[in-house]
């Protein structure tokens, strides 16, 4: 249950016609916004980002307000605001006279309604979190068990001859490598789920020294290991990097989730990782050929639970967790993931192909 569901149920009173996250709702008494705003207005200036609680005037002199409740953006438009009739264009005023009855809304009126909505939203969020907390409580020991298995697998690999982790991992038996990989991915999955259920958790934990190149190398080694002896799609690593950074535990999740995503949705054999030191940090880029991501989708693929237009047809089981978690981990580690999708002009299984690049710059977290 969220605010939009609550409004749609009709049980919650809406004093004035508004739009919530782009969806239009008339008032509870059945009154619409002025006809001019609904049908005649072409620029829809009021719907652009940048509005505030204080109110702004559109080109014809109506006042519109923007407010945020939880993640939802509420826009109250087509009101007379505090200046009343005077500011509205004479022709428009005459034409919309009836619609404007009851729409003298001050910033204070809008804010006080918003405060009530925030209280309601908090009830929803608290209720959802409590249910989640109760449902997951029996599992609170499970991540610890995964951690224990991973630590044991780590000791197993470290018993093997070799100076580096690579050498010891290669010297291990296939079953030992399999156990190590499984245990590590299990621990990573719990870390990702923790961030998925509670994004705040990406900020927790001790800061550690992270070496991007070594981390990527290890992740690739692990992800390309196959239990049945068949070679899996192994990403190629390019570039050079020697820098070290202070990072949170959640840092590891960023390349891991991006790499998993690229391997899952890549439609060709090649997945390329480029890690190189730049002036202000280390640039990590991941390039693969996969479904075209439209500009609108580029902004939304990091949203919780969102799945791209073609994602469903490639991987039915995906739940829109990976990229959301990667973004939260990136925010916690003070970086931003950028995505560029270049249309390649051909289709594969009716899916338009593109060269997709996900990139971020690693910096110290403090």
């Amino acid at each position: 249950m969220n605010l939009i569901d609550a409004f749609e149920s009709g049980a919650i009173a809406i004093p004035w016609a508004v739009s919530i996250d782009g969806k239009y709702f008339p008032s509870s008494t059945g009154r619409d916004a002025p006809m001019h705003c609904i049908t005649d207005c072409n620029d829809k200036y009021c719907q652009n980002p940048g509005g505030t609680l204080l109110g702004h005037q559109c080109t014809v002199g109506f006042t519109y307000y923007h407010g945020k409740v939880g993640e939802a953006i509420i826009i109250l438009f087509g009101t007379l605001g505090s200046k009343g009739w005077e500011s509205v264009d004479t022709g428009i005023r005459q034409k919309n006279k009836d619609d404007l009855k009851g729409r003298s809304v001050s910033a204070r009126d809008f804010s006080s309604w918003l405060e009530k909505l925030k209280s309601l939203n908090k009830l929803f969020v608290d209720y959802k979190n409590n249910i989640l907390s109760e449902a997951l409580h029996p599992l609170h020991e499970t991540p610890k068990i995964a951690e224990e298995i991973r630590n044991l697998a780590d000791s197993l690999v470290n018993l093997k001859p070799g100076k580096t982790f690579d050498e010891r991992f290669s010297a291990a038996l296939p079953a030992e490598r399999g156990i190590y990989k499984g245990a590590q991915l299990l621990v990573d999955s719990f870390d990702m789920l923790s961030i998925f259920f509670n994004p705040e958790s990406a900020k927790l934990g001790e800061k550690r020294i992270a070496e991007p190149y070594k981390l990527i190398h290890k992740l690739v080694l692990l992800l390309s290991n196959s239990n049945n002896g068949l070679t899996r799609r192994r990403p190629k690593i390019y570039g050079e990097s020697y820098k070290k950074y202070l990072a949170l535990e959640s840092f590891r999740i960023i390349p891991l989730a991006l790499l998993n995503n690229a391997i899952k949705y890549s439609m060709t054999e090649e997945v390329i990782i480029d890690v190189r030191d730049v002036d202000n940090g280390t640039l990590f880029s991941l390039v693969s050929t996969g479904p075209y991501i439209s500009e609108e989708e580029c902004g939304r693929i990091f949203e919780r639970g969102f799945r791209g237009k073609y994602a469903q047809s490639i991987d039915r089981d995906g739940m829109g967790i990976g990229l959301y978690v990667a973004r939260e981990a990136a925010i916690a580690n003070r970086t931003t993931i950028k995505v560029v999708s270049e249309d390649l002009g051909y289709s594969l299984k009716s899916i338009p192909m593109a060269r997709n690049t996900f990139s971020f710059v690693v910096r110290d977290v403090v």
């Binding site: 409590n130 907390s133 997951l136 609170h140 991540p143 951690e147 705040e200 927790l204 934990g205 001790e206």
Partner: protein, 268 residues
């Protein structure tokens, strides 16, 4: 007057006085000397302190050397740590004991007994199955109470419940968060990170400097205050600094001074 007749005259003088007056005369003579000596030494100390050192850290480094920034064994012995966890096997108890920390363990603690934890410098705390009155999230209640104290202990949260948004405060209020089972090296690193600035002389001196840096006072007042604080540290608080200029942070400064008096004895 020759010496013999001088003694004779003195004897006659004392004979003419009562016993109490004699005692007072002697004490006032010795006391006067002591006060003069103390005044002179305080003056010298002040001259040395204010002239020589630009910060408390500089003074501490000169007095304790690099050793003053280390958690020495003697210091570790005086640091009281408690583990509060239903499954103590998840914590490196033997290792922390081998480092000579003063360790006490609890596999549960009632809400009525939380005050027991107030005397610890560090509390390593789990959230689940530790408080009989709230088996699910009792650790959250413990940390809330501890962190509302005027001088709360450091708390290291050890739990895998990071996924639970209803207990976010448990982790936010903690000074460090570690995964379970807790590895020896990770707990030691967290203790080092947290304790160095709060128990070692050099660390505490730096903490005082940092706190003063956040508070804007004139350069002259700052110099004076540095001198007074160094005096207080030198005399274990016998000469107290004037907090007139830094009232809003005086409690926090005082807390750091008290810690200094308590822990610096481990470096003598």
């Amino acid at each position: 007057m020759d010496p013999i007749s001088l003694i004779e005259t003195a004897k006659q003088f004392f004979d003419g006085q009562g016993a109490l007056a004699n005692a007072a005369g002697i004490v006032s003579f010795i006391g006067g000397g002591a006060i003069a000596a103390w005044k002179i030494s305080a003056y010298v100390l002040q001259r040395v302190s204010t002239k020589k050192f630009n910060s408390i850290s500089e003074w501490a480094l000169a007095k304790y050397g690099n050793n003053g920034g280390l958690l020495t064994e003697k210091l570790r012995q005086s640091i009281r740590i408690s583990f509060v966890d239903d499954n103590l096997a998840d914590l490196p108890e033997a290792y922390i004991r081998s480092l000579k920390y003063d360790l006490t363990t609890f596999d549960h603690i009632s809400l009525a007994d939380i005050s027991i934890l107030e005397r610890f410098d560090v509390v390593v705390l789990d959230i689940t199955n530790v408080v009989p009155e709230d088996m699910r999230n009792g650790g959250l209640e413990i940390i809330k109470r501890l962190k509302s104290l005027p001088t709360p202990p450091l708390v290291i949260a050890v739990s895998q419940k990071k996924y639970d948004p209803t207990v976010s405060n448990f982790f936010k209020l903690a000074d460090a968060v570690l995964k379970k089972p807790v590895k020896e090296a990770e707990l030691e690193a967290a203790l080092n990170r947290l304790l160095i600035t709060l128990v070692t002389p050099n660390g505490l001196a730096k903490s005082i400097d940092t706190l003063l840096d956040t508070y804007v006072i004139s350069e002259n007042d700052r110099k004076n205050l540095n001198g007074q604080l160094i005096k207080a540290l030198e005399t274990n608080g016998k000469i107290m600094p004037e907090f007139e200029n830094i009232k809003p942070i005086s409690n926090r400064i005082n807390n750091l001074l008290q810690r200094f008096y308590r822990f610096s004895v481990c470096y003598v």
